[in-house]
C-alpha cells in the first residue's frame, strides 16, 4: 500500500470511527452511571436519523404545509441538527422513564433491565418497519459536498465536518464529566449508588441528564451518518449499534476516553482490514482482534478492574 492510499484509508477510518465513537459514547455514559447496557441505543441512533429526515424534508417544503420562505440549505442543516438532537434527547428520556425507571424502582436485577432494553430496541426497529414501511429513504443533500484533492488524497468537506465534530464533542464531554458539578454527580453515582442520595444528589435528575446527553450524541451521529451515507432503513442502527457497543467495551466501558479511542480503533481495524483483505473478511478479522484483545486485557484499554473486598 503506497502512502497516498494509506492516507486515504486513514481519513476514511477516521470518519468511520467517528460514528462508532459518537454512538459508543451513549453506551458508555449510561453504563458509567447506571451500570446498564442500554441495548436500545443503536436504535435511538436510527430514530435520530429518521427524525432528522422528517425535519429536513419538512423545511425543504416537501410536505403539504410548507414554510412561507425558503431557507438556505446550510441553515436547514443547522436547524435540523439542533431540533433532532433535542427531540431525540426527549425520546431517550421517555424511554428511560417508561421502561427502565419502573424496573429500577423495583430493584430488579440489572439483567432484567438489559433484556427490557433489548426488547425496546426490537420495538423501535420493527415499529418503524411497520409504521413507515420497508422502503429505504434517501436523505436530502443539505451540504454541498465539495471534494478537495490534496496530494492525491480526496478530502470531502463532509468527512472533515464529521471528524471535527467528533473531536469537539469529545472535548466538550470530557469537560462536562470532569469539571462540572453534574459530571461529578454522574461519576459519584457510578462510584457508590447507596451513598449518593444521602448526600442530597438528585439521582433521577442526573440519570435523566445522562440519557439526554447520550441520546443527543446518538442523534448527532444519526444526522452526520445520514449526511455521509444518505440511505435510511429501519435496521441501520442494529449492526452499527452492536459494533459501537463493542467499541465502548474495547476502550473500557464507562470511560469517555475509552469510547472515543475504542470507536476510532474499531474504525481503523475495519477500514484497514477491508483495504488489505477481501471485504467479506472484515467482520471476522475485526471481531477476532477484539476477542484476542479482551482475552489479554479483560477490562479494555482504559478500564480499571474493580477490586472486590472479601
Amino acid at each position: 500500500m503506497d502512502l497516498q492510499s494509506f492516507f486515504q484509508n486513514l481519513l476514511n477510518a477516521l470518519q468511520w470511527g467517528s460514528f462508532y465513537a459518537l454512538i459508543a459514547l451513549g453506551y458508555t455514559l449510561v453504563y458509567g452511571v447506571l451500570l446498564l447496557i442500554n441495548f436500545a441505543h443503536g436504535d435511538i441512533f436510527m430514530v435520530g436519523a429518521y427524525i432528522s429526515f422528517f425535519i429536513a424534508t419538512f423545511f425543504l417544503g416537501q410536505y403539504a404545509f410548507a414554510l412561507p420562505m425558503a431557507l438556505p440549505n446550510t441553515a436547514i442543516f443547522a436547524i435540523t441538527l439542533v431540533l433532532t438532537m433535542m427531540i431525540t434527547a426527549g425520546f431517550g428520556v421517555t424511554l428511560e422513564r417508561v421502561a427502565y425507571r419502573p424496573l429500577r424502582r423495583k430493584g430488579a436485577s440489572r439483567l432484567y433491565v438489559v433484556i427490557t432494553a433489548l426488547m425496546c430496541g426490537l420495538i423501535l426497529e420493527n415499529g418503524n418497519l411497520a409504521l413507515l414501511g420497508a422502503n429505504r429513504r434517501s436523505f436530502p443533500e443539505l451540504l454541498n459536498n465539495t471534494v478537495h484533492v490534496i496530494g492525491g488524497v480526496s478530502v470531502s468537506s463532509v468527512k472533515i465536518l464529521v471528524i471535527i465534530t467528533t473531536i469537539v464533542v469529545f472535548l466538550l464531554l470530557e469537560t462536562i464529566v470532569r469539571k462540572t458539578k453534574l459530571g461529578m454527580a454522574m461519576r459519584a453515582i457510578s462510584y457508590d449508588r447507596m451513598a449518593v442520595p444521602l448526600m442530597g444528589i438528585p439521582v433521577d435528575t442526573v440519570i435523566v441528564f445522562t440519557f439526554a446527553l447520550g441520546s443527543s450524541m446518538a442523534a448527532l451521529a444519526g444526522v452526520l451518518f445520514a449526511t455521509a451515507y444518505p440511505v435510511l432503513e429501519p435496521y441501520m442502527g442494529a449492526l452499527v449499534g452492536w459494533k459501537a457497543f463493542i467499541a465502548a467495551v474495547l476502550g473500557g466501558i464507562g470511560e469517555i476516553r475509552g469510547a472515543f479511542v475504542g470507536g476510532f480503533l474499531l474504525g481503523f481495524v475495519e477500514i484497514f482490514v477491508a483495504a488489505f483483505f477481501p471485504s467479506t473478511l472484515r467482520d471476522l478479522i475485526a471481531f477476532s482482534i477484539l476477542l484476542i484483545f479482551l482475552s489479554v486485557k479483560p477490562t479494555g484499554i482504559f478500564g480499571v478492574a474493580r477490586t472486590t473486598k472479601i
Partner: protein
C-alpha cells in the same frame, strides 16, 4: 416407583406424538411446530445453564447452534447423500438411520470445542466484558461460515432433507420428530442431573460468590469450562436438529436476532429454573406462531408483551424456582429425594 414417573410420562408423551405423526392425525404444520418447540427447549435450557445457573451473560448462543448445524449437515450430506458439492455418498444411504445420532453428537462436540473460545477468556473476564466475547464469537462463527465457499458461504447449505428421506426409507418413522423428542429428553435429563449433583452445584456457587466458591475448594475454572462446553454442545445439537427439520440453513439464520430470541426465552421463564425455561420455550414458540398473521407487527407486539411482563413480574414465570416449588403437590409424583437441598 416415583423415581420413574417423570421419565415414563415423557416416554408416553413421545410415543403418543410419534404415533400421532405416523398415523397422520396431526398435519405437517403441527409437527413442525412441535419440533421447533423441542429445539427451542434445548436452546433455552442450555442457555439457562450459563445465564441462569452460572450467572454469566451470554448473548451469542446462536453461534454455537450454527457450528452444530453446519457440522451435522455437512457430515450427513457428505456421508449419506449424493450432492453436487461432495459427489456420491461415502457410505450407503441406509446406514443413515444408525449413524445420524453420531453425526448429531459430532456437531455437538464441534460446538463444544468452539465453546472453548468463550470458556477460556471467562477465567479472567466477567460480566459485561464476557458478554462482548460471546457476541464476538457469534459474529466470528457467522462470518467464518460466510467465507467458506465450499459449504455454500452466504448462500446457505441444503440437502439435509435427503438424509431424512433415506432414514425414512429404511424405517418408516418421522425421524426428525423422533430425534427432536429424544434429544429434548436427554437435554433436560442431563441438565437436571447436572445442576442437582454435588459437582454441578459448583456452578451455582460460582454465581453466588466466585471467591467464596474458590475458597470452599470449588475448581471455578473447571466449572466454567464444563458449563460453557456443555451449554454450547447442547446448542450445537439443537442446531443439527434445526438444520434437519428445516432442510436448509444459511449463516443469516444464526445472527444476534436468534440469540436474542433464546435469551428472551430464558428470562421469560426465569433464570435458574429448568421448568421455567421449558414452559417459556413452549409458550413463546406458540405465541410467535399465533401472531404470525400480524406479520411485521408481531415483532412489536411480542417485545411489548415481554416489557409488560418485565414490569409486573421481572423475575420471569419462575425465577430461581421450579414448578415443583410453586405447586408442592407435584412433588408427590416425582422423585422427592433429589430436591432435598
Amino acid at each position: 416407583m416415583r423415581r420413574f414417573t417423570s421419565v415414563s410420562l415423557y416416554g408416553l408423551l413421545c410415543v403418543l406424538l410419534i404415533a400421532a405423526a405416523q398415523g397422520q392425525w396431526i398435519d405437517a404444520y403441527v409437527q413442525i411446530i412441535i419440533m421447533f418447540i423441542g429445539i427451542n427447549i434445548i436452546l433455552s435450557t442450555s442457555l439457562n445453564l450459563i445465564n441462569g445457573y452460572m450467572g454469566e451473560f451470554s448473548v451469542g448462543h446462536a453461534g454455537f447452534m450454527a457450528v452444530g448445524a453446519y457440522i451435522t449437515s455437512v457430515l450427513n450430506v457428505w456421508f449419506f447423500t449424493s450432492s453436487k458439492v461432495f459427489g456420491p455418498p461415502l457410505l450407503t444411504p441406509s446406514s443413515a438411520v444408525y449413524l445420524f445420532p453420531v453425526t448429531l453428537l459430532l456437531g455437538g462436540v464441534g460446538a463444544a470445542l468452539v465453546g472453548l473460545l468463550v470458556a477460556v477468556p471467562s477465567f479472567r473476564t466477567r460480566g459485561d466484558y464476557l458478554a462482548i466475547i460471546t457476541l464476538a464469537v457469534n459474529y466470528i462463527v457467522k462470518s467464518s461460515i460466510e467465507n467458506i465457499q465450499a459449504i455454500g458461504g452466504a448462500r446457505g447449505f441444503m440437502g439435509m432433507q435427503n438424509t431424512v428421506n433415506s432414514m425414512k426409507e429404511s424405517w418408516n418413522l418421522p425421524w426428525a420428530l423422533v430425534w427432536v423428542l429424544v434429544m429434548v429428553g436427554a437435554t433436560i435429563w442431563t441438565i437436571y442431573r447436572f445442576v442437582n449433583s454435588t459437582y454441578g452445584k459448583g456452578i451455582i456457587a460460582v454465581r453466588d460468590d466466585e471467591i467464596a466458591a474458590e475458597i470452599m475448594s470449588v475448581d471455578t475454572q473447571r466449572m466454567k469450562l464444563v458449563a460453557f462446553m456443555l451449554s454450547s454442545g447442547l446448542a450445537g445439537i439443537a442446531g443439527g436438529l434445526f438444520a434437519h427439520v428445516l432442510g436448509y440453513i444459511n449463516p443469516g439464520t444464526f445472527t444476534i436476532m436468534k440469540s436474542t430470541e433464546v435469551l428472551v426465552m430464558v428470562y421469560l421463564g426465569g433464570m435458574g429454573s429448568l421448568s421455567g425455561s421449558v414452559l417459556s420455550a413452549i409458550a413463546l414458540t406458540l405465541v410467535l406462531e399465533l401472531f404470525r398473521p400480524l406479520q411485521v407487527a408481531k415483532w412489536v407486539v411480542v417485545p411489548l408483551l415481554l416489557i409488560l411482563l418485565m414490569l409486573f413480574r421481572p423475575e420471569g414465570f419462575l425465577g430461581h424456582r421450579e414448578l415443583s416449588d410453586v405447586f408442592p403437590r407435584l412433588r408427590r409424583w416425582f422423585s422427592p429425594q433429589e430436591r432435598q437441598s
